[in-house]
Structure formats: C-alpha cells, structure tokens
C-alpha cells in the first residue's frame, strides 16, 4: 500500500529538514549566540524567551546590545524595528511560493513568525519540489521544529558553554556567510535575482560607508531595483 500524501506526511518531511545543512549551520551559530548572551549577563529564562519570540538572529544580537547599553524601551524598539524592515520583502517574496489555493491568511500570519534568513533560504530552495497544497505543512514542519530545537539548544548550552579556541570559533562563524553565498545563488532562478545577488554583495559594504544605520535596507532597495531595471532592459533588447 502506498503511503498517503497527507499534510502530516509533509509536516514530517519538513521536520526532517532539521538535519539539513542550513539547519545545522544555524545551530552552530546559536552556540555562538549562547556564549554571547551569557557574556551579556542576560538570565537563562529571558535568553530562552528571546530565542523563541524574536527568532531572527541579527535582531536578537541588536536587542542584547540595546539592553546592555541601557537603552530606553522606545529607543530599543526603534533600533530593532529599523534593522528588521528587511523581513518584510523577504516574507512578501516567499508568500506566493508558500500559499496554496485555499490557504487562510491567518495560517500565513502565524507561520511568518518562523521566517528568518535560514528558513527563507531553505524554503526558496526547496518549496518548488513540494506539491503546492502541501507547502504550508512542509514549511510549518521545518520552521517550528527549527525554532524549538534552537530554544532547547540555548537552554542546554547556556550553563555549559565553554570558550572555543579562536581559530575554531572563527571558522564556525565563517560557515554562515559561505553557506548563504552558495544557497542564495542556487535559490535565485531568474536573471533579475542573480543580478540582484551580485549587486547586493557590492552595495552592502558600499552603503555601509555612506549610511551605516540603514545599509542593508538601501542596498536591498537600490540594488534590487537596479537589477530589476537592467533585467527589463535586457529583456526588451532580446525581444527586439
């Protein structure tokens, strides 16, 4: 008898993504975050709460920075909010791939919490191989499992985290950008995205020099729009 093609089966398949390269690299990064949060003097309960509630790793690093700097609540909110605007276009780009014909919006609103850079890259790369009506189940399985696993990881590692040799710690930190380099390239199917990828690599550091507070946002908007326009012009030339 064939295994029925149910939501539960695809949810389980998504859960298995915990043993994929992106999930393992993220967990390595969370080991680093655990030692960072211990150094900052944040108690265990709050560290665990933060891991689940904020979920995006760069936003958490900024939040911890705001806490240790003694920033006021409105200032901390503004700092984290401004740096997290990038989540909006990332989620917007993923939604048309993720939703089925009858997916209720509230399902997507709940699931969007689990979208951060790792889950985004994973989903953009793999959702196309999942039947459309099963994509929400597949992503829920992956996103929820990955978040829970990292909450458990932070809770366990918090009290046992030890100093790694600098060479090893540096190598672990280097895995994240290199992994993103290769996987974002594989998940960029159209010419416009590939152009945007190359332009974004250059514009990130460029805007960091010009406007360090909003560098990611400017690099995304200006770089992405430039890639889009170049792609349109090339398409018109090819058609002519």
């Amino acid at each position: 008898m064939a295994v029925p093609d149910t939501h539960a089966r695809w949810f389980l398949k998504g859960m298995r993504g915990l043993f994929s390269m992106p999930a393992i690299i993220l967990m390595v990064a969370f080991v680093g975050f655990s030692s960072f949060i211990v150094d900052a003097g944040i108690p265990l309960g709050e560290a665990v709460f933060m891991t689940g509630m904020v979920w995006a790793l760069p936003a958490k690093v900024l939040l911890v920075g705001a806490i240790t700097a003694g920033m006021s609540l409105p200032a901390a909110f503004l700092t984290v909010a401004l740096s997290s605007i990038r989540l909006m276009p990332m989620v917007a780009a993923l939604i048309p791939e993720l939703r089925g014909a009858r997916t209720p919006t509230w399902h997507l609103l709940l699931l969007s919490h689990f979208i951060a850079i790792t889950a985004w890259v994973f989903a953009m790369e793999r959702l196309r191989d999942v039947p459309r009506e099963r994509r929400v189940a597949f992503f829920a399985g992956f996103g929820i499992t990955l978040t829970l696993a990292n909450i458990v990881l932070v809770a366990t590692i918090y009290s046992t985290v030890d100093a790694l040799p600098a060479l090893a710690a540096g190598a672990l930190l280097f895995m994240t950008p290199v992994y993103f380099l290769t996987s974002v390239w594989s998940s960029s199917r159209d010419r416009s995205s590939r152009l945007a990828f190359v332009i974004g690599l250059g514009f990130g550091p460029l805007f960091h020099q010009i406007a360090p507070e909003f560098d990611i946002l400017y690099a995304g908007l200006v770089g992405g729009s430039a890639a889009f326009l170049v792609d349109r012009v090339m398409a018109i030339r090819e058609a002519a």
């Binding site: 920033m71 909010a81 990332m90 917007a92 939604i95 190598a171 895995m175 380099l181 390239w185 995205s193």
Partner: protein
C-alpha cells in the same frame, strides 16, 4: 527613561523583550504576508520584490564577511574575502554542492591563518 534595568519586577524584562524584540520584528513579517498575498507569481512586481529581497540578503552576507563579529575578526580581511571567493568558486565548478563550497572556504581560512601565523 524606561530601560531594561529600570523596573525591578520579574516580568519587566519579558515585557521589554516582547515589545523591543518580538513586536519590532513580527510586525514586518505580518506586513510581508499582507503584501505578499497581493503578489501574483511571475508578475513583474513579484520579480522586483524577489530582487529586492535577494539584494538585501546578499548585503547581509557581504557584511558578515567584511565586518564580522567575534573571533572571525582576527582573520585578515583579504583572507576572509579570498576564502569566501574560493568557497564559492569550488561550489560553482565542482558540481554545485554546498558542502564542497563550505569545506573549501573553511580550509582556506584556517590554512591561511596557520600559514600567516
């Protein structure tokens, strides 16, 4: 002003994290869902949003390599850029396998630091 350290109550840090952390990130995710719901797959606006998102992620990657935190900052800048480029080249030319790219990049970074002392 109301800082994390301002109120002694046990619940205050959690309120602080919920507002400055959870609300400050999830509000963009919710707006992303509402905006994404209006996008049609393979429309021009979808191509634009995907390009902006890809450029954003690429900018994050470049910053992680150029302005790293923690122990990675101890590796020289040119070694970091060279190792990332070597990893990407290994990925492209040796069968598009992610682990090949990562292995090549880490080998260059660690080897380079050992050679440079």
């Amino acid at each position: 002003m109301l800082a994390y350290q301002s109120i002694e109550a046990w619940w205050w840090p959690y309120v602080f994290i919920a507002v400055a952390g959870w609300l400050a990130t999830d509000m963009w995710r919710w707006l992303g869902v509402l905006a994404g719901n209006r996008l049609k797959e393979d429309s021009a606006s979808m191509v634009w949003v995907r390009s902006v998102a890809t450029a954003l992620v690429a900018a994050v990657i470049a910053k992680l390599i150029l302005y790293p935190s923690g122990d990675l900052a101890q590796a020289p800048l040119l070694l970091r850029i060279g190792s990332a480029a070597a990893g990407f080249a290994a990925f492209i030319f040796l069968g598009k396998r992610t682990w090949v790219g990562i292995l090549a990049a880490i080998a260059c970074l660690v080897g380079g630091q050992i050679v440079l002392g």
